[in-house]
């Protein structure tokens, strides 16, 4: 690693491992976060996301490996000397201070300390940034969760950190507020240009906000990439399952022919899918699944032929459930030989066919090139 190559990386992990006694919370991971990026750690609870964040903040030190911030190795440097700030999951606002005192806390720790006038100016600016002007003298317990969230954000941002760390910042908010805050956070990040590193277990949140996502499982990084890369080219079934919705047909590989992989399902039927870009090479006999996204499946009245549907595979099924979602209609279909399949049918198709009701028999189908053959892990 020479110095130059680090210059545009705000955070870098080099073979980082963190153990808590016998528990390996983070298992030999390497990653880098570009300057100005909105980066997310995504994974189920207990997979090591918070630990990764705490290693950057300096609350924990890695058992092995190196952490760099802005190109500088930081292992051993205590949190108060690191150019990063954290927004805690339950905000951790100081209950004995009002809003302005909380927000000014970071400024007061500086030496030399800014003048009172300078501090007040910055506090007001930051309050405006998070749309909380007028709440200067509020006590913490006099505010709603969403307002506390904004104060926590302001308290971190006022220090202009190199990196802002957010640990499940929206988890405690209700659904509607969460949507609004997602958009706001994204706008805010572009406005201030600070690198954001977000931890979340909510795939929708990660997909909608980040420009890069790192998917974790049991202390490991499974895949990292842009939301689109992860959605279109998952490296295995775990990622495809975690990012967006997908249907899976499990089986084992019965043939590999360049860009076309045949998977024999448990009941003997063969399906064809293409390998995912960047995924490990699959070999005959491997356990694998055919993955097909709900919006890539066509739905027609029963006994339509595959050719008529412009599909390569077709099968009959019965509509178990129908959910109208406005732009789309979501069907749960019990298909012959493969079980329950989720199908997302766009509005314009629905108005042509007139839609289907629970109990109707239908035909579903898809083109082989749209299906992926993925490693079963």
């Amino acid at each position: 690693m020479n110095k130059l190559s680090n210059d545009h990386k705000d955070v870098e992990f080099v073979n980082v491992t963190k153990r808590f006694g016998p528990v390996v919370a983070v298992d030999n991971i390497s990653l880098s976060v570009e300057q100005g990026a909105f980066f997310s750690f995504l994974g189920p609870s207990g997979c090591g996301k918070t630990t990764s964040l705490r290693l950057i903040a300096g609350f924990d030190q890695p058992s092995e490996g190196d952490v760099h911030i802005g190109g500088v190795p930081v292992v051993g440097i205590p949190p108060h000397k690191r150019p990063v700030n954290m927004v805690f999951q339950n905000y951790a606002l100081f209950p004995h201070m009002n809003v302005a005192e909380n927000i000014g806390y970071g400024l007061r720790q500086r030496s030399p300390k800014p003048t009172a006038a300078e501090m007040n100016k910055q506090i007001d600016e930051t309050l405006e940034l998070v749309q909380m002007s007028g709440y200067r003298n509020r006590r913490i317990w006099e505010m709603s969760g969403g307002q506390q969230q904004r104060v926590a954000l302001a308290r971190a941002l006022i220090n202009r950190p190199t990196v802002l760390l957010l640990d499940e910042p929206l988890a405690a908010l209700d659904r509607k507020l969460r949507r609004d805050m997602q958009i706001e956070l994204q706008t805010l990040q572009r406005e201030v240009g600070i690198t954001f590193i977000l931890v979340t277990h909510d795939q929708e949140e990660a997909l909608s906000m980040s420009d890069r996502i790192c998917i974790m499982r049991e202390g490991d990084i499974v895949q990292s990439g842009s939301p689109r890369e992860l959605y279109d080219h998952p490296v295995n079934r775990y990622v495809a399952d975690f990012v967006g919705k997908s249907n899976f047909i499990a089986g084992s590989i019965s043939g590999v022919n360049g860009k076309s992989i045949t998977v024999k399902s448990e009941n003997g039927r063969e399906f064809i899918g293409s390998p995912s870009t960047g995924a490990p090479t699959l070999r005959g006999g491997d356990h694998a699944s055919i993955a097909i996204r709900p919006e890539l499946i066509a739905i027609s009245p029963s006994n339509t032929s595959a050719a008529d549907m412009n599909a390569d595979v077709a099968m009959n099924g019965r509509v178990k459930n129908q959910i109208f979602l406005g732009e789309h209609t979501e069907y749960l279909i019990n298909a012959e030989g493969i079980g329950d399949v989720l199908v997302l049918s766009p509005k314009h198709i629905e108005s042509e066919s007139g839609g289907f009701n629970p109990g109707d028999t239908v035909t579903i189908g898809w083109k082989n090139e749209l299906a992926l053959a993925l490693e079963d892990s």
């Binding site: 903040a57 609350f59 949190p79 108060h80 700030n85 951790a92 606002l93 004995h96 500086r110 971190a156």
Partner: protein
């Protein structure tokens, strides 16, 4: 709300019934003895000792004769409280923050263990420790002659700290124990060094515990008589000692009562001022007995 207002009559009747035992207890145990003491304080000492009915302010006029007991009590009680706080805080901090969960319980029990024997016996033990055959004897062996520890103001203060330490440690321990550790991390994260974090977060947030502890210890020290009598060698006289003397030895009940009433008034005033100060502060919201 609505139902409460509607059922107002029935509610207040029920409340009265439910409150009756407490009210009765207060009347019998607290108010009545106090009234008796107040009545006595306006009486005269009967020739045989005890109380003779009368209405006179003589006893109150005579209070300045015990000025020394007042000044002693009002110096030693606050000073003792302060010193106990200074000793208790690091101990409570250590127990709440530094000790691992495994040792915590054992150490907490050790703090209480002395309470299992009476203060009298424990104070007596200090007479031996501080007396001629105790520490001074040891000091003499290494060449420090004639060190006097017993019957000094220092011995009284030491006895006070020793006797009331657990009462101070526990409330502080509780407030430190329930302090959200993430607040310390937040302070650290925002650039506060560990020491500054202690001053700006830990200390103010443990105020309620300190306030409770100080109040408990202060009130008890104001009425203390055992420790000054044993460790002060009768030279350091508190109001408590004056009361013991007046009620049990010279049997001047009216004068003793006047002294007691004055002590109660002083305590009420100081405690009220104290509560105003601590509860009105920024951390006031969290003030609780424990």
């Amino acid at each position: 709300m609505a139902t409460m207002i509607k059922d107002g009559n029935k509610g207040s009747w029920l409340t009265a019934v439910l409150l009756a035992p407490t009210t009765l207890w207060f009347l019998v145990m607290l108010i009545m003895p106090l009234i008796v003491v107040v009545i006595f304080s306006f009486g005269e000492r009967s020739p045989m000792g005890g109380y003779a009915a009368s209405f006179t302010f003589d006893q109150y006029a005579n209070l300045p004769s015990r000025l020394k007991a007042f000044t002693n009590t009002l110096t030693y009680a606050p000073l003792g409280t302060l010193l106990t706080l200074l000793v208790a805080y690091p101990l409570a901090y250590y127990l709440a923050v530094k000790v691992s969960a495994r040792w915590k319980l054992l150490l907490l029990v050790l703090v209480i263990v002395p309470f299992w024997t009476s203060l009298l016996i424990r104070t007596y033990a200090w007479i031996f420790i501080l007396g001629g055959r105790g520490i001074p004897n040891l000091l003499e062996m290494i060449g420090f002659d004639d060190v006097r520890l017993i019957n000094t103001p220092g011995a009284v203060l030491l006895g006070m700290i020793y006797g009331y330490l657990p009462l101070m440690v526990f409330p502080i321990y509780v407030s430190l124990e329930k302090l959200d550790k993430q607040l310390l991390e937040a302070s650290n994260d925002l650039g506060g060094s560990p020491f500054r974090t202690f001053l700006q977060v830990t200390l103010p947030l443990s105020m309620p515990g300190m306030a409770t502890g100080c109040m408990l210890v202060f009130i008890l020290l104001m009425g203390e008589f055992l420790i000054p009598a044993f460790l002060g060698g009768g030279k350091i006289f508190f109001l408590g000692n004056a009361l013991v003397d007046l009620f049990l030895q010279s049997r001047n009940w009216p004068f003793g009562s006047a002294l007691a009433v004055t002590l109660v008034i002083i305590m009420l005033v100081t405690v009220t001022i104290y509560m105003r100060l601590t509860m009105g502060s920024k951390t006031g919201r969290d003030v609780s007995i424990m």
